[in-house]
Symmetry: none
Subunit: 208 residues, 4 copies
Amino acid sequence: MTGGARVRRRTRKERPARQAQILETAARIFCEKGFDRASMGDVSTALGLTKAGVYHHIRSKEELLYAIMAYGMDLFEEKVLTQVSGIEDPLERLRATLRGHVLLVTRDRPKEITVILHESNALKGRFRERINARKRRYVRFLEKTFRELARGGLARKVDPAVASFAMLGMINWIYQWYRPGGRLSEEQLADALADLLLQGVLKGPAEA
Amino acid sequence: MTGGARVRRRTRKERPARQAQILETAARIFCEKGFDRASMGDVSTALGLTKAGVYHHIRSKEELLYAIMAYGMDLFEEKVLTQVSGIEDPLERLRATLRGHVLLVTRDRPKEITVILHESNALKGRFRERINARKRRYVRFLEKTFRELARGGLARKVDPAVASFAMLGMINWIYQWYRPGGRLSEEQLADALADLLLQGVLKGPAEA
Amino acid sequence: MTGGARVRRRTRKERPARQAQILETAARIFCEKGFDRASMGDVSTALGLTKAGVYHHIRSKEELLYAIMAYGMDLFEEKVLTQVSGIEDPLERLRATLRGHVLLVTRDRPKEITVILHESNALKGRFRERINARKRRYVRFLEKTFRELARGGLARKVDPAVASFAMLGMINWIYQWYRPGGRLSEEQLADALADLLLQGVLKGPAEA
Amino acid sequence: MTGGARVRRRTRKERPARQAQILETAARIFCEKGFDRASMGDVSTALGLTKAGVYHHIRSKEELLYAIMAYGMDLFEEKVLTQVSGIEDPLERLRATLRGHVLLVTRDRPKEITVILHESNALKGRFRERINARKRRYVRFLEKTFRELARGGLARKVDPAVASFAMLGMINWIYQWYRPGGRLSEEQLADALADLLLQGVLKGPAEA
DNA sequence: TATGAATGAGGGTTCATTCAT
DNA sequence: TATGAATGAACCCTCATTCAT
């Protein structure tokens, strides 16, 4: 599903466990220190390996970053996009998307997703293009949904691009301030954001 | 107004021209390449100086970053916060804040503000704390405004923190997608975002 | 015995050969050019390595200096102090100390010991303190010996501190003028200095 | 008397006061931090000038160092060597030399003299040679005195070179441990060292 | 699969020195 | 006499990466 360059084609039998462990650990470290400030030494130390040891599993730091992002994208598409793309009602679809996205970001794989947002500029060439293409696909999906909502008479006159990016901004900013285990549960946050966005998008009762 | 460590205390008369030029150029470069990927060589070359020549005016790369951020914060507080803090009506105040913030980000000093958002993690210690304190002050200002709105009966039951950070997310994401000179003018963007946010915050006519 | 931070903790089996080679070469270079005038490039070139190659084995230039000094101190304590500290007779002990010190400085490890004398100011903080503590221990040992000599009625009335530092000065100055292979052998030099010091310290025959 | 390159030929009327002030301050700083670790910025700051301001009075850092050393040598030769060179009795001459040297080092100009001892290696070429020549002249003077002492039947059989360098070592080491205002006055120190050296050099009463 | 050793490139920073003003 | 600005060279150190073992 990733479609891109695997971190390394596995020769004979290779435990994909190590792969996953490396991705996870590197994601955590890139997320904590930032891709550029994090050294391969940081990663290898966190893994209990030497630098050379890590290089047996990856081809380069950049490909490692790409693999993390691709994995995050896989996850997002699998757990959110494909789950909601079957929903007919655009309002329900939008709500489910927002909810799924928020929960993914707050509960499941915050590290990988955060890296995707922050470090896209660290990629170059094909890698960058591939990630951006998948991001754009998501935006188009959102815009389409907003358009359907308008066509169905449920939405005020709202620019689909502005609405989509406003929604993305709201969600992508979460990691900057939200800490799980605090006053709001992840579900409450998702609902609150959905209300905020939708009450503004939908016509008020009197206008309807 | 910055309150922090100027890049260099000026003895007697010193043309602040070079200082401003350096801040501006460095802001552009840090913004384009990212703070860590940008080298002091990049900055000095862009200025037509040698590296040592730049170091005649700054103390370190980190202080240069801090100076850029502090300048961006000065600008924001001067052009937005102080302008709107006198407005009595919380609805008007919020609308003016959002509008001012969006226009600042899109028209006036996008580079400095963008750097503030992206590179705070590159700062350490006191510098980081000072910038964060000013950010927090802004959030408190927003939360207070949302609370006043609710107290005045104009707002739906909305968590002030969620609303504040949603608003910030929307605005801070702009630089990722909006390009001036396109389909939407800066004013149109500001209005569209204000509508989006406020129609969700305000009670609908029927409920009122 | 060093008790201090080794240049690098060795995991499992590591040839200490390179370590020793680096210490020796760096000691020679620091001694010849002076610590500050010697660059890490000088050291690495002399080793037939790149700078980065040297940094694989050491942590910093300062720690390298400390390691050299600590090694010199180890040597001194092992080859001189512990050898003589068992000698009961203070006169014999003093003569043996002076002799051992002179021979160490002229024959065995002149570089490391010279560096200790010259470059202590290049160290800071803990490192400096550790080296100074070991130096002070030696001085206390000398003072104690001079006091015993006086108590035993063998010495004229001589300030133990002055005598100790005079002796140290005589020995530490050697590297400034003495060249092995010249008119005086190392042993002759040691004996000459011992005579010079002791004939002044001991009562003359008539007074005895 | 210096005979060497003046720090700068004075055009028209120039206060030599500044010159002296610069030499003194630089000597203090070079002494405290070491020549290599001290920057011209340190010197200029201590003088209340800019770096460029200092360069109006000196030609280079190395020449500044040379000027300090030459001044120290002038002082030593004027206050010690010429004072004692008229003394006929070699014993008196030696005692006066040692005493004068110790007092110069502890009371009058410790900084300049210390710099001479420590930083000769920082000089190159002609400068270095000139300073070394003056040092050697002093050594020859000492050796001659020791030889006269022996010829007069007052001294034991002692190598004049060893005795000279032992004496120099004792004196030159003083700055490493002696602090004025402590238990020993400068005069007491001078006497103690003279006793130490001479009682060893002179024949004991019984042998005489 | 993993490691210690090594490297080439570059990064931030300092410094002695010069020069127009 | 003094300065602010600027420079070229060097310095210490880090890093992603490779390779023999």
